[in-house]
Assembly symmetry: C2
Homo-oligomer: 203 residues x 2
DNA sequence: CGGAGCCTTGAGAGCTGTCAATCCGGGTGG
DNA sequence: CCACCCGGATTGACAGCTCTCAAGGCTCCG
């Protein structure tokens, strides 16, 4: 059984790519890595920092589709696409590695175990997205927050301190105010406990 | 450049699977193909009819995550998963083909051009899901309907007659009433035209 | 101490969900 | 041919919830 790709398996994959085919990129908070409609140049890995994939509605509202943190990939789907479908914006000062699209495709075409790992990565991405659709489709704000917290802490059942309400609210299409109220509701219901160190514990 | 996998490429892929590894399945309206938590047995193709991937919130509300129509696959992501993440329910009487999970994985491991096609399929699925997240995250009902109609008719700019408001509303987490009102708003704004044959034209 | 940034809380408006009534088209049976 | 019924779509009325805007609170940091 092929399991979820671990970080070291990622490294094994990418280490086969010639150095000349990878580019180190430094971006500062607010910089655009690419914009919607750009021709995709490859897949990106976040080495440090954080990059958001966002879309802007024509009414000016911004929507976070994905939050890529250190160690994660983004723009995977653009491997097979003629244009980028989101804006990629640095949420913080970040360093990225870009792996050339053509080199990756060649690598995939010549190697098969790697192809399986890639597919498992894609499959996990699909499942995460379905989960996100489920969360965002939930009408009640407190249920939406509850599902999202469960999703975030599905292993540790605990949300680390230092979380930022504004970011969490963005991810599930709520305003920070509504998120705050919803969280208060969950705490009142004893479903979430605010711990003294600032973390959240799910029950 | 690898382009989107066409239906004939699908056929080429699946034709390499031994007949003994594929099962024909007939289901009637309302039948469950599999349930959340089941051990995945393979990937399914809808030959005729329609299958919905849904989740039930514990408050009893049903959410449509995906609508697989004739010619489409579903449960792709479960290839690399130990359990199904949705219920699959027949929306109409349908015939399905199930391709055995193990056979597919072997096929992928031994063939590389096919692996690329599979990945392109997954990549398209990911893009569709991101679009769905974008749509569902849109707060205004009429804007949500507008985005969804654009997504549905992104090639023909027209929605065929015979569409069912209830189903469309389900897909974007709206009530039929709210959908109806939103559609009326779009028609009043001349962004959508109801044609005499019952189809919708986008402008 | 003072400011900045974020979270929290409050009040009101706007929008969607709910429930109910009505309309419309297709199918059935007299 | 017509009355009737049935399912879905539409429309109306109202409650409930979230968004918006505004006003404190809190922590961190200079």
């Amino acid at each position: 059984m092929i399991s979820i790709m671990t970080e070291s398996e990622f490294d094994a994959l990418f280490s086969q790519i010639k150095p000349v085919e990878r580019v180190q990129i430094r971006v500062e908070t607010g910089d655009c890595v690419f914009r919607r409609g750009d021709s995709p140049e490859g897949i990106y890995r976040v080495e440090s920092g954080e990059v958001l994939l966002v879309r802007h509605s024509h009414s000016g509202q911004m929507l976070t589709l994905h939050r890529a943190q250190a160690g994660q990939l983004f723009a995977e789907a653009s491997l097979f696409s003629e244009s980028c479908h989101c804006d990629a914006v640095a949420e913080r000062d970040s360093t990225l590695t870009r792996f050339n699209k053509g080199a990756l495709l060649e690598l995939l075409a010549s190697s098969n175990a790697d192809a399986l790992r890639w597919m498992s990565y894609f499959a996990r991405e699909i499942q995460n997205l379905r989960k996100q659709v489920e969360i965002v489709s939930t009408r009640s704000a407190s249920e939406r927050v509850w599902l999202h917290l469960q999703h975030l802490g599905n292993t540790q059942h605990e949300i680390e301190p230092g979380f930022v309400i504004r970011k969490l609210a963005d991810e599930i299409a709520l305003t920070p105010e509504a998120y705050s109220r919803a969280l208060k509701t969950l705490v009142d219901q004893r479903r979430v406990i605010r711990q003294s160190n600032g973390s959240l514990k799910l029950s």
